[in-house]
């Protein structure tokens, strides 16, 4: 994405030329060294198996700044090893609107749940949770659209956030290697509608005692992922109407702070999905069967921060589908090849347990994180997989070291 890189250069030159309009520019790198037992979808050991693998996982360039006292712009450009892409680019009106309202428009991480709006380098653990990658897309729920959000007129902090979105979450490439999946092709290849989708989140924040804070959230989404007329979805095949998706989410974050530098965080999310579904492999004379598929995923973690620079934690992560690394994967857990249609896989599942321990040299400027992850797979129905010959899959164990560095101005520590 040469354009994105040029944009960054131009903006940084503009910034340097004018002290008044100079935005904050920062760069964040994420390097990993890891090892583990890795097999491909056919059960064959991959080149990464049992050796020390090294990957520069991500370079993120961020440009942020106020446009005037009321409005700001945020641009995040990322390279995951395959060229630069615009991760987020949005303008926000933050102050001065009636009804305690804020408006955001552009391409952005949607506030479905608490964690999705954070970039992975800001997580206390290593990778985006499996449930996010399966149910939202490998880079999370990123979409283009408009967000309005309001502070509720309550005695405590309550926020209602509403989005009208283009629906990229339902496009095939949002879930990675769609072309590898026969099942995927049946359902979402080339979303055939431009109808917007809608999502929202209600969140409440309450202090608990002098040192504890709790945030609770509930999210929802509704939209068409295939309109009538699409292959497998419309009346031309079976007389069915538009195929829609409904998602819900519940999230919780509790943080107890003993001091500025010592805290315990408990955080988790539950995500549910209900999608209209068309299966060709039936005996119906019309050529298929129409129904609905319900899937559920989620994660929870505990993170203890102590002595200003140290952290240790544990994460449990559950997702529908079989999360299976491939031979050419850039990252062992970023690009599975058996999960493209996992959102429709209500039979099989993946469960990961991750231990992580971090050390930061000085706040977020340099962070080292040791991690160990065991992923187990539960295959109940191999007809749902890309490789339908697979009947079982061994546990996958990864151990590694992550280094994150951050160049640029300090960012505020947000709850």
């Amino acid at each position: 994405m040469r354009t994105a890189f040029c944009l960054l250069l131009i903006l940084s030159m503009v910034g340097a030329a004018s002290a008044v309009t100079q935005p904050d520019i920062s760069a964040i790198g994420d390097f990993r060294a890891f090892s583990g037992n890795y097999v491909d979808a056919d059960g064959v050991k991959t080149a990464r198996n049992g050796t020390l693998n090294m990957r520069f996982n991500e370079l993120e360039l961020a440009i942020n700044g106020n446009l005037n006292p009321y409005t700001r712009a945020d641009i995040f450009i990322a390279n995951h090893g395959d060229g630069f892409e615009i991760e987020e680019a949005f303008g926000s009106i933050l102050r001065g609107l009636p009804l305690n309202m804020q408006v955001k428009a552009g391409r952005y991480l949607v506030d479905f749940g608490k964690l999705n709006v954070s970039h992975p380098h800001a997580y206390p653990f290593v990778d985006r949770p499996l449930a996010h990658r399966i149910m939202f897309g490998f880079d999370g729920f990123i979409d283009e659209g408009v967000n309005i959000n309001f502070l509720l007129p309550t005695g405590f902090y309550g926020k209602l956030s509403l989005n009208a979105l283009r629906g990229k979450i339902f496009e095939a490439d949002a879930h990675g290697h769609a072309e590898e999946s026969a099942v995927e092709e049946d359902h979402v290849e080339g979303r055939n509608t431009e109808d917007p989708i809608f999502s929202g989140r209600l969140s409440l924040f309450v202090p608990i005692g002098e040192k504890g804070n709790l945030e609770l959230g509930a999210s929802g989404l509704y939209g068409l992922y295939a309109a009538a007329g699409a292959e497998g979805s419309g009346s031309d095949l079976a007389g069915f109407d538009d195929m829609s998706a409904t998602m819900f989410g519940l999230d919780l974050k509790y943080k107890y702070r003993w001091s500025d530098y010592t805290s315990l965080t408990l955080q988790g999310e539950l995500i549910g999905s209900r999608r209209d579904h068309f299966a060709e492999d039936t005996t119906l004379t019309l050529g298929g069967e129409f129904g609905q598929v319900n899937t559920i995923g989620g994660f929870g973690f505990v993170d203890l921060r102590f002595l200003k620079r140290y952290s240790i934690g544990l994460m449990v992560d559950y997702a529908p589908g079989i999360f299976d690394g491939g031979e050419e994967d850039y990252n062992p857990v970023e690009e599975p090849n058996n999960t493209s249609a996992a959102i429709f896989d209500d039979q099989n599942s993946s469960l990961a347990i991750t231990l992580f321990s971090g050390f930061s040299l000085m706040e977020e400027t340099t962070i080292f994180r040791l991690f160990g992850r065991m992923t187990t797979y539960d295959i109940k129905d191999r007809s749902q997989l890309v490789n339908t010959a697979m009947t079982s899959k061994d546990d996958e164990i990864t151990v590694g070291l992550q280094m994150i560095w951050s160049l640029g101005p300090h960012k505020p520590h947000e709850f």
Partner: protein
């Protein structure tokens, strides 16, 4: 009956108007304390950071945004110390908020020259941001607050001006007393954890000869600690100042090696029980330092 209800309604309305206070939120307890002096009974003042908080490191909570959403004035420390305040202000959505950078008009110390980068630690390009620790700067802070509060509530301008004059006089009178008390501090050399005290040292004539942090914001290292112990021994430094939010481990081990005394010195109002307001903060600091002589 109807007329009576109208009269009662009008009276209640007027009472409500008369009781409406100027809502001020400050980043620090020090700015809040000065704002209370200027606003008096006409202002309701809150602070985001608590006295024991490290102002460099405050987590932005949604409850802070809610507080600021109802405020008329926000008081920032500025000079890059409370950069988190912008996230609180933006999150408040308050378009009518008067944002005051209280460092305006302050003659800052230790403004770095030449090329500045992060290899120098958590350095502040506009100068050391702990400027409220010189009582004379308290008057400048009060002047900034006076300008904002008279803009928010011009009807009570006279009352705020009287409060401002009274605060200036209070500082002036105490300054005479404090300077007299601080005569015994002449020639005192101290080591501090962080570079928090240049304004206090300049105001009261003692010297900070070294820091436990090798560079601002950088945790102590063995080699730097060893050099610092040698320096303290050669200069016969007997006092270590530790801010309450820093770990006592390094200061105590250095004190053990040098025979120095560790003082838990409050850099802000409310950091220790006796520092109840801006004036009491200096009373506390000076009595702590005097006790070492």
């Amino acid at each position: 009956m109807k007329k009576l209800l109208i009269v009662i309604g009008v009276l209640f309305g007027l009472t409500g108007l008369a009781m409406a206070k100027v809502a001020i939120v400050a980043s620090s307890t020090d700015l809040a304390s000065i704002a209370k002096e200027i606003g008096g009974d006409l202002a309701e003042v809150n602070s985001i950071a608590q006295g024991r908080s490290n102002l460099h490191y405050v987590e932005v909570l949604p409850s802070y945004m809610l507080k600021v959403s109802k405020a008329d004035i926000y008081l920032k420390v500025g000079l890059g110390l409370d950069m988190w305040a912008d996230a609180v202000i933006d999150g408040s959505r308050n378009g009518k908020l008067i944002v005051v950078d209280c460092s305006t008009g302050i003659e800052t110390l230790e403004r770095p020259s030449g090329r500045i980068d992060a290899s120098m630690g958590d350095i502040h390009p506009q100068g050391n941001p702990h400027y409220w620790l010189d009582p004379a700067n308290g008057v400048e802070i009060a002047r900034n607050i006076l300008t904002a509060i008279t803009k928010a509530d011009p009807e009570n301008l006279t009352i705020y001006q009287v409060n401002f004059e009274a605060f200036c006089l209070k500082v002036e009178n105490n300054l005479v007393k404090w300077r007299k008390e601080a005569e015994s501090l002449k020639g005192l050399s101290v080591v501090s954890y962080h570079n928090t005290w240049p304004y206090l040292a300049k105001a009261f004539g003692f010297e900070v000869v070294g820091f436990i942090e090798p560079k601002p914001g950088i945790e102590p290292t063995a080699s730097h600690t060893s050099q610092l112990i040698d320096l303290m021994k050669s200069k016969e430094v007997r006092v270590i100042l530790r801010e309450p939010y820093f770990s006592p481990r390094a200061p105590e081990s250095i004190a053990k090696a040098t025979g120095a005394t560790v003082l838990v010195a409050p850099p802000s109002v409310g950091a220790v029980a006796s520092a109840t307001d801006y004036i009491a903060l200096f009373d506390t600091l000076l009595s702590l330092l005097k006790a070492t002589r």
